[in-house]
Amino acid sequence: MPRPADDDDGRALYAVAAPDYGASTTSDGLAAPEQLLQRAGRGDNAAFAAFYDQLSPKVFGLVKRVVRDPAQAEEVTQEVFVEIWRLAGRFDPARGSAAGWACALAHRRAVDRVRSAQAATDRERRVGAVWATPEGDAGYDEVTEQVELRLEYERLRRCLGGLTDLQRESIMLAYYNGHTYREVAHLLSTPVPTVKTRMRDGLIRLRDCLGVGA
């Protein structure tokens, strides 16, 4: 028989190479999210509520950036936190930070949501083919749209500034707009293999600039 249900749940989503969790509280005296998540994994609702309070701005902000519609962003954010609750017992701090785990889950959920909405729209469009609008440069505007990063993300902004335009746009369109690399290639009128490569070498350059994960 196939592998048991749930066996790959969440495991692929660990984000950050193990940081040091020697300290059990953050600098501002709050319990570390990793600790809260582990307690939540033992059924501790209060720990989960505290975890929600710490991480919901990050999760909601990211989800909303991808799906855009505030009502849908709330729905997806709720799904993400319920999923975190379900999987909390499987969180392993040795394999990454709780924030990284939550962001990876949130991003994947948000992307799944925009893609299945897109698939539904495409189906409707095929059914009502007479109403179809010509395919083509739809979405070109989003290329020029800037993601506004707040002051504390100055370093990230600087590192993004150190990428080539193609690297940066490939990464931004994929991550913040939820496009596949094939869609990004189309939007940027660039061959698919080039976009694939630019995503990877752009992220590698960011990694080195930010000094993370190594």
Binding site: G41, P57, K58, A106, M199
Partner: protein, 248 residues
């Protein structure tokens, strides 16, 4: 995908950005299992993606907190994945002990073979070897089936994926990453024929993943998935969230 694949390796960037479609994603994940270098790169690049993800925070409305905390009260948590340490597993220890007993028995049996008592022990060792070989084969086949299902998976409305692999008069169905449903809702699988729709299975709303082997009648055209009230319905009461064609 046991051999190094430069193609999959180049996709690590797109992978951590979730810029792959379902099929590419499954291929990369299969590749990562066999390529520690790629897996390490994914961890590092994922850390970069996390920083992008954390950089656009926005406080959600306070009503969301209430709904989330209310909902988790009704959601069962999944048990931890308990690692199996080789040699530290009761069943393995028991099996090894049995093997030893059998080996001793076989040796003893060989000694007394002349009296015609040796057959039982000797056959047991043989059977045990066969069983081990069969187990290894089943585990290989599981991996093949899981990979095949992953590569033919298609996203469903609202989340999760559906994969149907027809073979002969049966079909293997794999629904995974199913978003949890409220307690009074379940997922239901259907077999669709030109004459109507027939229930194939009901899947718990919190199962997350389910696999089923369906016996297909000759006129089944597709497998569909809907969300239904607890206990399932005689006929679908909501639009399908996923459909996979079995034959045209």
């Amino acid at each position: 995908m046991t051999s190094p694949s430069p193609e999959a390796h180049l996709l690590t960037g797109a992978y951590v950005l979730d810029a792959l479609d379902t099929r590419d994603r499954a291929e990369v994940e299969a590749h990562l299992d066999h390529c520690p270098t790629c897996a390490r790169e994914v961890v590092e690049l994922r850390a970069v993606a996390t920083m992008l993800g954390e950089a656009v925070p926005e406080t959600p409305p306070s009503s969301l907190r209430t709904s989330v905390l209310h909902e988790i009260d009704q959601i069962r948590q999944l048990p931890p994945v308990v690692p199996v340490v080789p040699g530290d597993d009761l069943r393995q220890r028991r099996e090894r002990r049995q093997l030893k007993v059998i080996a001793v028995a076989a040796a003893a049996a060989a000694v007394v073979a002349l009296v015609g008592l040796g057959v039982v022990g000797a056959v047991s060792v043989d059977q045990r070897n066969q069983l081990a070989a069969q187990r290894a084969r089943v585990s290989d086949l599981d991996a093949v089936v899981a990979a095949a299902a992953a590569s033919s998976a298609q996203p469903m409305t609202g989340g999760g994926t559906l994969a149907v692999i027809p073979f002969g008069d049966r079909a293997y169905v794999d629904v995974r990453d199913l978003p949890p449903l409220p307690n009074n809702r379940v997922y239901q699988l259907w077999m669709s024929t030109p004459d109507g729709v027939k229930s194939a299975a009901v899947v718990d709303g919190n199962a997350g993943r389910a696999t089923r082997l369906l016996q297909l009648q000759r006129n089944v055209r597709s497998v569909k998935v809907t969300v239904e009230p607890a206990g399932g319905s005689k006929q679908p009461t909501t639009p399908a969230i996923g459909t996979a064609t079995v034959r045209d």
